[in-house]
Amino acid sequence: MPQVKVVITLKPTLLDAQGRVVQDALHSLGYANVEQVRIGKYMELELSPNDNGDIETEVKEMCDRLLANPVIENYRFEVVK
């Protein structure tokens, strides 16, 4: 069964407010060497095994249409057969 692993991240130019809070928390725990934290999303999609279509093209479309917002996010994915 093909599995797709999708990682979505905020564009580097955008301030990651959540990431900054986590970075501050790590600093307060003593990890002074943490220079930046960026929080993203990770998704696993299970596709039906008899899918003979072009998985790469289809997943890219899913990312562009719904899974990511291209205005604020980047995405990457890998297909594990």
Partner: protein, 252 residues
């Protein structure tokens, strides 16, 4: 019944003619729908009906309101799933025909996800949910949403959101500025945009923007929560009154 009495029974309409008909779209998780409905029906005296997100027709209404709330639990991103509700195709067609669309708070987020407005709304810089009164300055009062206001008028309208930081690329910001499509900015009580008066970190203190044709408005503050003096401020009523005037002009 004499003509005088008949007239007395009518709520005076500003520009005469038929009153525009409003729709308030309800998504699962909408929670400001009743407030918007109340303002239209009881404060403005205009016809209004709820439209369920699974419906596919706006049934000939003039003005669509996408209300605040947490449509689909804000899963994935705010507005990301609501954008694909069946009713949104009708909303898009309505907007493309020049029909008026007002998105408030979550409604603004839905309009951005649907690409009916540019940019996006992300988590407040403070990471806090901000629920408070804000001051807004009317940046352009020559629009269907702001014609009832004076140029530069400072309004008191509350916000209630965790993800209201408006972001867009430089090119979009320039287009918004040059096209006078920023209708409201967060300001201090004196009417000056300052970092302190920006409750969410929005670029250029943006609180509300219109599309290029000025028939779609998205705003994070809640005018429906500030439409009667008993609720501390009636400054938000102007948005709805402007729309009624504009819709009546469009009918002529």
């Amino acid at each position: 019944m004499s003509a005088t009495i008949a007239n007395a029974n009518q709520t005076p309409a500003r520009t005469g003619g038929r009153k525009p008909k409003f729709a308030v779209v309800r998504f699962p998780g909408s929670n400001c729908d009743q407030d918007a409905y109340f303002v239209v029906k009881d404060v403005l005296g205009c016809p209004v009906e709820y439209i369920w997100h699974q419906d596919t027709s706006l049934k000939g209404i003039d003005i669509v309101i996408l209300p605040g709330g947490f449509s689909y639990g804000d899963y994935l991103r705010t507005g990301a799933v609501a954008r694909f509700s069946p009713i949104m195709e009708a909303v898009r067609a309505h907007a493309e025909r020049g029909g008026f669309v007002l998105g408030i708070c979550n409604g603004f987020q839905v309009l951005c996800e649907a690409h009916l407005l540019p940019g996006a709304l992300v988590r407040n810089t403070s990471c806090q949910f901000r629920c408070k009164m804000t001051h807004l300055r009317v940046e352009n009062n020559e629009t269907p949403f702001t014609r009832a206001y004076a140029p530069g008028q400072v309004l008191r309208i509350p916000i209630a959101h965790g993800e209201g930081r408006y972001v867009c690329d430089d090119e979009t910001l320039r287009a918004l500025e040059e096209g006078r499509r920023i209708l409201f900015r967060y300001v201090d009580a004196k009417g000056t945009p300052t970092p302190e008066s920006n409750p969410n970190g929005s670029v250029a203190n943006i609180a509300g923007i219109a599309n290029a044709h000025f028939n779609v408005l998205g705003m994070m503050p809640h005018p429906e929560r500030a439409s009667e003096t008993i609720l501390d401020s009636a400054d938000g009523r102007g948005v709805f009154e402007s729309l009624v005037q504009a819709a009546q002009m469009a009918m002529k």
